[in-house]
Amino acid sequence: MDGAVPPQAGPRSFVHRLRDGDEVAHVVTLIFASLILLVTSLLVFILWEKSQLSRAQFGWSFFWTSVWDPVFSHFGALPFIYGTLVTSVVSLAIAVPLGLAAAIFLAELAPRTLSDYIAFLIDLLAAVPSVIYGLFGIFIVVPMMRTTIGPALKHTLGFLPIFKGPNYGVGFLTAGIVLSIMIVPFIISVSREVLLTVPREQREAAMGLGATRWEATWKVVVPWARTGIMGSVFLALARALGETMAVTMVIGNDPKIAASLFAPGYTIAAVIANEFTEATGDLYLSALIELGLVLFLMTFILNGLARLLILATERGGGHTS
């Protein structure tokens, strides 16, 4: 039998233990697991180190400078942070109500088999590559925004500052819409699972007290699953923040801060994708990498919060997505 060693008195030396197949397996798998740790640390290190020039040059003012000028080597992250946040907020504003409503339907109302099938289809949506959404965005959403959605919004809500200004088809709103389609599957998927974990007694108790189905759901079940749902929202947000291809194809690529949602904008991920290979000058490249570091930090914090929240609802352990 492999690895069978007769019992001995006293501890065995490391080398001796190594002849034991189990120890080898342990060490080997440990090495691979540590490799992941190594790569991640290296990633953070490289981001930190290569953004050194920019951090030294601009310091904290990098965060509130709104100029991005390669000619005069004046770089600031504000327009990109703004764009990233605005598109993400717009996408959440669309996806959260939609996603939560759909999740409620799937968890509470639909018969289990139908619910499973639809959840399955929605998971497929989550698997669609970003560039496909971009393609769909350029040829379908942008013209629709320009000819239908934009004018309709201007007609009804045009007095609001967010709907003022010219409508090009590309811009914050279009990017937000495309992003919302991309993140809604995550919200539905996780929320549905979390809602399904709410004990049946809760619903029954509420209805026993005379609540309508809706009241029971909205006032009892959903609040019970509140933290898990928030976790799904944070997860979706983290995905939206890091989204590159779909956004750069429909946002207009203009590093400006504008109140109107019809205006073109720029996000951190999009500017890195567009300008990285051509950043002449070490400071320029360093500024772009600093932007990457900022994005990394933002998604890191959000992902962390999301996981904590989701775990908090799932009393009794187990993992969700």
């Binding site: 798998t29 992941i36 339907f105 929605i122 560039v131 991920a269």
Partner: protein, 283 residues
């Protein structure tokens, strides 16, 4: 007064519940809409040339994406070669050998890596695999994708290994098998269905990634021989052609999109069906 209140609550009930149904079906219809457009526009443009020819010079009509299809295939091969073993081994470690603290750290790091935006992974791969050797390459692209394959694989491996009941382990050990032999010949095969589907899902995910390839694989008009030359890939071509002004290129972008979408959906569908049949919950 009380009657009115009840009527209000009842109507609200009906309205809100129907809205949720509308929302659910709305989301599903979007999927069908997207699929439909791709099948329609992409299907029209798929022809034999698409699969067998190289791209034509800018502005000329015709040509295909044969090199992009092979390029994507090669990149996926590299991602699988580098990423899957790491993911598998790390998953085995976490499920079978891990202690408390270190395993926790590893899990946390895996989650972290999973959340890193793909463009940032691209920067990392550029710094590590392109700058030092001074050229763009398939290897660099494969490296970037491999990093993205690891987290999903680790998670799938760990989950499915954990799902195997301890009785199996104990039985094997009672028969005298050592731990590693138990894992290798009993546990892993038992969990193999789920693990393989996890691997397939991770590959399907990176197949569609564009951002990490922008500064690693770069792109290529021709065939990319070997592994150290820049290579074309389906997502890169879709991006390049979609933003161009030529209708012919748009046509080809839709076709490529259909191919990519088809690949990804088929992989996902296949995995889900397999997992459902085995009665295991989705990843």
């Amino acid at each position: 007064m009380k009657r009115l209140h009840i009527i209000w609550r009842k109507s609200l009930n009906v309205v809100m519940l129907s809205l949720t149904g509308v929302a659910a079906f709305g989301v599903v219809s979007i999927l069908f809409l997207i699929l439909g457009y791709f099948i329609y526009d992409g299907g029209r443009s798929l022809n034999w040339a698409f699969f067998t020819q190289l791209p034509k010079p800018t502005g000329e009509v015709g040509g295909g994406m044969a090199n992009a299809i092979i390029g994507s295939f090669k990149l996926l091969l590299l991602a699988a070669l580098f990423g899957l073993p790491v993911g598998l081994m790390a998953g085995v470690y976490l499920a079978e050998f891990g202690g408390k603290t270190f395993a926790y750290v590893i899990r946390y790091t895996v989650d972290l890596l999973n959340g890193v935006p793909s463009i940032v992974i691209g920067i990392f791969a550029y710094a590590l695999a392109v700058q030092p050797v001074k050229h763009f390459s398939t290897l660099a692209g494969g490296f970037a994708l491999a990093i993205m394959v690891v987290p999903i694989t680790v998670r799938a491996t760990e989950e499915f290994l954990r799902a195997i009941p301890n009785s199996l382990r104990e039985g094997a050990m009672a028969l005298g098998a050592s731990k590693w032999k138990t894992i290798a010949s009993v546990i892993l095969p038992a969990a193999s269905g789920g693990i393989l589907t996890g691997m397939l899902l991770s590959l399907a995910r990176v197949a569609g990634e564009t951002a990490p390839l922008l500064f690693t694989a770069l792109g290529n008009q021709y065939w990319s021989p070997g592994w150290s030359q820049p290579t074309s890939a389906l997502p890169l071509m879709i991006y390049e052609y979609a933003i161009s002004a030529y209708d012919d290129l748009h046509r080809q972008a839709w076709a490529a999109g259909l191919v990519l979408l088809g690949m990804v959906l088929l992989a996902n569908l296949g995995c889900r069906l397999v997992m459902n049949r085995r009665g295991v919950r989705g990843v």
